[in-house]
Subunit: 317 residues, 2 copies
Amino acid sequence: MITALAGGVGAARLLRGLVRAVPADEVTAIVNTGDDTLLHGLLICPDLDTVTYTLAGMHDDERGWGLAGETWAAMEALERLGGESWFRLGDRDLATHLYRTQRLSQGASLSVITREITGALGVGARLLPMTDDPVRTRVTLVEGPEVGFQEYFVRRRHAVAVRSVRFDGADRCRAAPGVIDAITSARTVIVCPSNPVVSIGPLLAVPGIADALRERRQTVIAVSPIIAGAALKGPADRLMAELGQEPSVVGVARAYADIAGTLVVDDADAGLCDQVEATGVRCLVTSTVMQTAGDAQRLSTTILDASGRPVSDGPGR
Amino acid sequence: MITALAGGVGAARLLRGLVRAVPADEVTAIVNTGDDTLLHGLLICPDLDTVTYTLAGMHDDERGWGLAGETWAAMEALERLGGESWFRLGDRDLATHLYRTQRLSQGASLSVITREITGALGVGARLLPMTDDPVRTRVTLVEGPEVGFQEYFVRRRHAVAVRSVRFDGADRCRAAPGVIDAITSARTVIVCPSNPVVSIGPLLAVPGIADALRERRQTVIAVSPIIAGAALKGPADRLMAELGQEPSVVGVARAYADIAGTLVVDDADAGLCDQVEATGVRCLVTSTVMQTAGDAQRLSTTILDASGRPVSDGPGR
């Protein structure tokens, strides 16, 4: 069994390859819910939905988010009413949020609802929200206010400087059923190429998850979302710099050093491997850019092959 | 100024004519909210929306509900997920519920939100919800359970026998701002041809509304929704019979005798005028079937003309 810690788009791309490299039902993804937001009365779980839609083959790869063949009648009508339309909800995508919100009102947990949605859409992998409790990533901007994650990420297009990030509710949440066991019992744990601060950060803030990873650090393999000092997508590089972390594979290695024994870096960063290994993390160099599902499958196979090999477990060793 | 007490489709049809017979901004409609329901986390107000869409010229006349040119992508996706899709929400219609729910979560009242929606859609008449507080029509079926109104009306297509009806929350609600004044100060008050039990009934259960009508009973004109013993649409005839009321214009006259001085009945019921007047209600005979906006305008003009004439105020007088 393989367990992956997942944010949104970057994670979904890798998972799409992972379920081609091994049988899908051997894959568990533990997904960030810190991005979740209540909008128009509906609970929206962007990372869960991105992973679900991608694994269901329904994701719009060109747009980079949402469903392929989506229509926007509801959003257009909402604009006519003067409603808040900065968070674009397609008509079909809306159904996911309607379903989730209705089931929550009936008392179902997010774990159960996620299983129902992935089942209905034919997703073979197991998706677990990191927690069934509300955890909300909050971002304090340099210009002043603390805002919700989607306010920062979507409404302001992450084009504003960030002072700090916190995960409201994380200290009192419980890992969702199956989460800790999926980390403990997996043959390999993969930390997907997601934003270390706002995608993997919330996962590590859930009580028990970081401890479970530390316990088996040598067989935890992280994939760097930073390539040649930049994020392929999203604000990971900028956020790391703003929070005092080096926006490079070395900074990623430092962020993950206590939970991962290996960091997979792109060929472009081969020259930084010595510095990565100086943090006590084995450096594995390969092509990490995933344009196609085939690319993702190759990367997955490389990761899984590497997970059999011995790993260093301290600085300089 | 003209004030109308309104349910859904029948009321909307009359109001469409009323705003042609007099300037739209002289018309206030006080609308039933007992049909309102929370579904998928969204507050849905069927009667307010039917009146709004009709007056905005957006109503689907052929289907009889919802918006013309509507699409159903969200509902189809919801069905794929196995969600509850018996209450059909079109993609554009969904925007109304998203907007309303979002504004409620921001602390706006239903009155304010209704003004915003009607303003955005170019409705000239003033629409007031009967109350800003939650009132929910509950229906006890002969076969046993008490169910919500939409469960009875839509899911079971009102094809089940009813034992009793109550308006949960009505005793502790307050009439929305402007409601009582609109009744008191209007030149004429019209009770639209809506279901006396479940459309006008909730309005009369709001504290202060029935009293205000009784105070000016002689210039309150009701239009019978029953023609030749049957409702043109919906279960008014059946419901009246099940609740021990005569499903005829005579039964309607009895139901409204203490709040309305005049009942408008269709030509088909001219033979029952003596029995209507025996209840103390003046009987006005005209064509009440509204196929077109022109029909509705003619009926409105007839009502308004009649409101100038003297009215009997007791049995046999």
